[in-house]
């Protein structure tokens, strides 16, 4: 894994994606399905029409892009945030809780309010891992991951307890107030969240490539000792802040999902966004602009999978296999490149 954003390393990922899709077609053919029909359905269901693209692919891509941006921010500082799933749910809980109480508010206030509480909730969800890491050296990989299960359990508890809908029958919350719902692009299900995702990507791109703070974060992630001694950077604080904000961004994704798609809190709100987003960020080599592209790609794959299941009778989970193959191939390509570069120490 490389904390360094891409520089002219775009070709390999594209090749890998193309090869993986070709591999998928091959596997389908061997398994006795019609690959042309299958891939055709995949295409129609994701990118083939404006409606599929806007109401399906882009809606699915929105949380992936947001979470991936947060993941990239943390990893740039050397922190591996595997707990976006939990932070997403924390944000969703906060947004739903506030959202149901906002009837009568103007949208202009209600929506930012849900975003703020969701950001805070996601951030708070990482406070424990940050404290454990800073004070006791507990690896954030483990603590953030474990808190995912806590978040899932908490959502289950909330929708059967404090946040359960009024009738008390269904394990879900009341629908959020209209004022807290994100505006849609007319004629589609595409909501304001995509704008938020693109603006955040632009902001992070600027931060990473044009600011001293963004560079120092990279220094902390790639050479913490030199960053502390030569760069005089407070390494612990910088990395901790990056992880906290990364959690906040995942929380924001939760708010966008509740406010733009679900309109309520219920279990299984996330079909593994927090994990797929890691793949999105890595495939984009942590570059914010590229994350939009890979986010849309994975959004298309997962949306198209539904169509493939309907039209060609192929289990939708097959696309998760494709995603996994893409990531493994990418890691392999990285490992090979590292192995091939000339030994730095060997020249002396």
């Amino acid at each position: 894994m490389n904390a360094r954003p891409g520089r002219g390393r775009v070709v390999a990922p594209l090749l890998i994606v193309a090869a993986s899709l070709a591999g998928l077609a091959g596997v389908l053919a061997i398994a006795g399905y019609d690959p042309v029909l299958a891939l055709g359905a995949l295409w129609r269901g994701s990118l083939g029409s404006f409606d599929a693209f806007a109401s399906g692919t882009l809606v699915r891509a929105t949380p992936l892009i947001l979470i991936a941006l947060g993941f990239a921010l943390a990893l740039r500082g050397g922190m591996l945030n595997i707990g976006a799933e939990g932070q997403f749910l924390a944000g969703a809980m906060a947004a739903a809780w506030l959202g149901v109480h906002l009837a009568g508010w103007p949208s202009l206030l209600a929506i930012p309010a849900t975003w703020v509480v969701a950001f805070a909730a996601g951030l708070i969800w990482v406070v424990v891992p940050v404290v454990l890491r800073v004070r006791y050296g507990v690896l954030e990989v483990i603590s953030t991951l474990l808190l995912n299960f806590v978040a899932e359990a908490l959502v289950s508890f909330m929708v059967q307890g404090p946040l359960q809908e009024r009738s008390g029958i269904y394990p879900q919350s009341d629908p959020i107030a209209d004022a807290a719902r994100l505006p849609l692009l007319p004629g589609t299900r595409l909501h304001l969240g995509i704008v938020l995702a693109i603006l955040l990507a632009a902001a992070l791109w600027f931060y990473f490539s044009r600011t001293l703070g963004g560079f120092r974060l990279l220094a902390v992630g790639t050479g913490p000792r030199a960053a502390a001694i030569t760069g005089r950077i407070d390494v612990t604080r910088t990395a901790a802040l990056a992880l906290l904000v990364s959690g906040g961004i995942a929380g924001l994704a939760g708010a966008a999902e509740v406010g733009g798609v679900a309109y309520a809190l219920y279990p299984n709100l996330s079909p593994g966004y927090g994990f797929t987003a890691i793949a999105v960020a890595l495939l984009a080599r942590l570059h914010p602009g590229a994350i939009i592209v890979t986010g849309v790609l994975f959004g298309a794959l997962e949306t198209g999978a539904g169509a493939m299941q309907r039209d060609a009778g192929i289990p939708a989970v097959i696309v998760y296999v494709v995603e996994a193959v893409i990531i493994l191939a990418l890691l392999l390509a990285d490992a090979r490149r590292t192995a091939r570069s000339p030994a730095v120490a060997g020249a002396a």
């Binding site: 044009r210 760069g231 020249a347 002396a348």
Partner: protein
């Protein structure tokens, strides 16, 4: 005639477009200690690594004990009786000395048994070590001793050592070289890569000198002179004379560094490293600190550089301070980042191209390209990764960056560690130049010759106490360093 212990002939090795070795050769007889000399980038480490199985030559036969040998991996080398001792320790820090040795030698891990075998081995070789210490907690000299024991426990008869004395105090180095020549003397073979001429000529029986990947001299150490060897290393230029020490100290000005009754805690551990230290350095003065590892010099340097908060006492340092850390590869530079990025890392808000919170990488690159040219660095350009530079060029980068801020004070730890004669002379010249311009220089070196050559004034740190020797005398300073005077 007995065939040589180790013979490499006409060895070639390329890394991409750079040629590391172009027909290099090395022949080591049984019973001999052989010194392999050369500038940084001359290919001496590469040649050693090929013999040790860490690199593969592009071409050229290797013979061990007269038989053709194929060395594809360190394991192959070990099977042929070749043991390699690296410059940086390769032991597992969380295992004990005995466990580390057992692991390398392939012994059955039975705590009591391996303990006994380690004690036996270290006693027989005259390399005492506590088998129960954790490898990670050993001082650097013992870490290295552990590396040697590991190689010997694996029944090595040909021992290859990369810069073994770079980290040692003069007396420790002599001791180690005595043990190594003793080991070679009983029918084994030792190869030492080094850049210290004196040491090579006194400890080794034969020397091979490499330059640009090819052999320029093979000779007996009793017939070669420092002059002939350095001419072979540098290609006719001869050894750059250490320029006559002429102090630029500005006695009329107040000191740039002043400490009084300063106590500093041990870096990263409990305890006091420096006790009641008093020292002042004038603008333009170069003060060298002589010390063995762990004598408090590290904490002194880092306190003056502003990296460690002292416990108590007076510490006045004129700003800005530039710091040249001991380990340029982990503390001074971030190797995967570009030269321009490393410039910005070290200079922060003062870096060219940085305005407030914003960075213009174009401007930073342009300024870095300028520095590359002015310091005569060999680098592909400001966008090249720092890790692709040779050690000497990396140190030039660190120094160029430090000097670019026009510091009032430079603090340097072992500024020429691992550098060859020419690169070291260049570093000295730059430091002297800075001093002539009114910068106060405080440096530490584990090389006594360097201290004597570069410093206007010498201070010895021993057991956390600073003392100034009465005379600039090698023996006196050496004895003071180990607390014997």
């Amino acid at each position: 005639m007995i065939p040589p212990a180790l013979q490499l002939r006409n060895i070639h090795k390329r890394y991409g477009s750079t040629t590391a070795l172009a027909g290099a050769a090395l022949a080591v007889e049984w019973g001999e200690t052989h010194a392999l000399l050369g500038e940084n980038g001359a290919g001496k480490s590469t040649l050693l690594r090929i013999a040790g199985g860490l690199e593969r030559a592009d071409g050229g036969p290797i013979e061990v004990g007269g038989g053709r040998a194929v060395i594809r991996s360190p394991r192959d080398a070990r099977r042929l009786g070749i043991g390699m001792v690296h410059q940086h320790p390769t032991s597992i820090p969380s295992l004990t000395v005995a466990e580390n040795i057992a692991l390398t030698a392939g012994w059955r891990v039975q705590p009591r048994e391996i303990r006994g075998r380690v004690l036996e081995l270290s006693g027989a070789l005259g390399l005492p070590i506590d088998p129960d210490s954790y490898a990670g907690r050993l001082p650097i000299a013992l870490k290295q001793r552990l590396e040697i024991l590991k190689a010997l426990a694996a029944r090595a008869r040909i021992l290859l050592l990369d810069e073994p004395t770079a980290v040692l105090a003069p007396l420790e180095a002599e001791e180690l070289l005595r043990v190594l020549t003793g080991f070679a003397g009983v029918g084994n073979a030792v190869v030492i890569v080094t850049h210290k001429l004196r040491e090579a000529l006194s400890a080794a029986s034969r020397v091979t000198v490499l330059r640009h990947g090819a052999v320029t001299l093979v000779g007996n150490s009793d017939t070669e002179t420092p002059d002939s060897v350095s001419r072979a290393m540098l290609g006719g230029a001869g050894r750059p004379e250490p320029s006559a020490t002429r102090s630029d100290a500005r006695t009329s000005e107040p000191p740039a560094i002043r400490l009084q009754a300063l106590d500093v805690a041990r870096d990263g551990r409990y305890g006091i490293a420096l006790r009641g230290a008093a020292l002042s350095v004038l603008p333009g003065e170069i003060v060298g600190i002589a010390a063995v590892e762990g004598a408090g010099q590290r904490e002194l340097m880092r306190a003056v550089a502003g990296l460690i908060e002292p416990l108590r006492g007076v510490l006045e340092v004129r700003q800005p301070v530039a710091f040249v850390p001991e380990d340029r590869t982990t503390e001074g530079l971030i190797l995967p980042l570009s030269l321009a990025e490393n410039m910005v890392l070290g200079m922060g808000e003062q870096a060219p191209g940085v305005a407030g919170a914003l960075v213009s990488w174009k401007a930073a690159s342009a300024a870095t390209a300028d520095l590359i040219a002015r310091f005569g660095m060999t680098a592909a350009g400001p966008e090249a990764q720092a890790g692709t530079l040779s050690g000497g060029n990396q140190q030039k980068l660190v120094l160029a960056r430090a000097l670019a801020r026009n510091p009032k004070v430079i603090v340097a730890e072992n500024p020429t560690r691992g550098l060859d004669v020419a690169a070291a002379a260049e570093v000295h010249r730059r430091l002297r130049e800075a001093a002539a311009g009114g910068t106060a220089v405080l440096f530490h070196s584990s090389d006594l010759d360097e201290l004597l050559a570069l410093s206007d004034r010498l201070v010895v740190a021993s057991g956390g106490v600073l003392r100034e020797p009465e005379r600039r005398d090698r023996d006196l300073v050496g004895r003071m360093m180990i607390g014997a005077a």
